[in-house]
Symmetry: C2
Subunit: 201 residues, 2 copies
DNA sequence: AATAAATTAGTACATTTGTTCTAAATTGAT
DNA sequence: ATCAATTTAGAACAAATGTACTAATTTATT
């Protein structure tokens, strides 16, 4: 592995563990290279965070592309999408745990996130429409409620890690599993009566 | 107003604006006192954050006590509770915007928050039970879904500010109003058919 | 008015951090 | 093998920060 990748790996681990106050010197020390060397690969410290953000976005967009390919979306599609999303989020958890601070320090990240949210909103409204047509979701839910559901899902999906960190502090597998179940339960009241009967929680 | 209170007011404003990286020197400069004077009133910088947290908790507990006093809980009770909660949260928004970092730096805050969550969970399960008995909420919702609803509500209630900061950046009145509506819409699918008809969103 | 207690200002110190700079070492190409 | 380019180490700098310390000033008490 080249130094640049090794730096990103070390930085990711340190940021996840110590938060974004972990410094270039800490990262360099953790992987036994000189501060000068680290600076050779990343002129600005924030470039390291930016590079990790880019990786997160890339990994995530693979999921979204795969989701778009699915012909018949069901609850299992959604569940597996969230499970995979949560695994990625956990991997890059420092970003979600310090999202506001990062967004303030790196405005590009904030802008990209805001843009992604708008696109994701449309996508999910489309998905919900399909689930209604498929008889999985209820028919008589007002548009404003769908909109609120989307927003609510995004907030939970992007900040469950923070909530977990402040309370249960579940780690790894356990965390992702628990909040995938949380997500499932959130969809329950929107299910059609016929479909709700099939579900075991 | 005595200096201690003035320090807290200045700190609150600076933290809300600049995040928790705002320093003692910044606070002192903003209110035209010497760093030495600030240190006289707060030996440790983190004591300022702790004092603000205590105020937040105190203001919030007034709401909870008032909620407990209410005899017949309806949706309007919940709505006004959330509206008041959100106003307080907005006032102390830096805490919610940097909750994980603060919890890591001040373990007492994390512990208090975790404890509050456990107590709040029981309270809300009780409230939901009353709403079911009152015919406002549906009867046939599984216990696990109620539990998930509680968790989901806490996540949205405590992190909507972060989500807002990263996207719409609504300020003051507008922010609190928008997310009070968000909260209302979240309850919609749990309403009994009879009650859902009454609601205008 | 005199004295003690409190508050405030201002300086100073040790530490940390992002960044720069220079020289050494390694690698690659010819 | 030689030379250039890349990579690395390590020192150095300026700025910022938490905290400590001292002296001045204000306030309260008798």
């Amino acid at each position: 592995m080249d130094t640049k990748s090794r730096i990103l790996a070390a930085a990711l681990e340190l940021y996840n563990e110590k938060g974004i106050d972990a410094t270039t010197r800490h990262i360099a020390a953790a992987m036994d290279i000189s501060p000068g060397n680290l600076h050779y690969h990343f002129k600005q410290t924030d470039d390291v965070i930016m590079a990790l953000w880019d990786r997160l976005v890339a990994e995530f967009s693979v999921l979204v592309i795969n989701l778009d390919k699915v012909k018949h979306i069901g609850l299992d599609t959604l569940r597996s999408f969230y499970r995979q999303s949560f695994d990625i989020e956990y991997k890059y958890r420092f970003i979600f745990l310090h999202f506001v601070a990062i967004g303030a320090r790196l405005p590009k990240i904030r802008e990209q996130y805001a843009g992604m949210m708008q696109r994701r909103e449309k996508e999910f409204k489309g998905i919900f429409k399909k689930l209604v047509q498929g008889g999985i979701f209820q028919k008589d839910v007002p548009p404003k409620v769908w909109k609120a559901l989307v927003r609510q899902i995004f907030i939970v999906a992007d900040f469950w890690l923070s909530s977990n960190e402040l309370t249960d502090q579940l780690r790894g597998e356990k965390a992702a599993t628990a909040f995938t179940r949380q997500m499932e339960a959130m969809f329950y009241p929107y299910l059609s009566a016929r479909h709700a009967a099939k579900i075991t929680l």
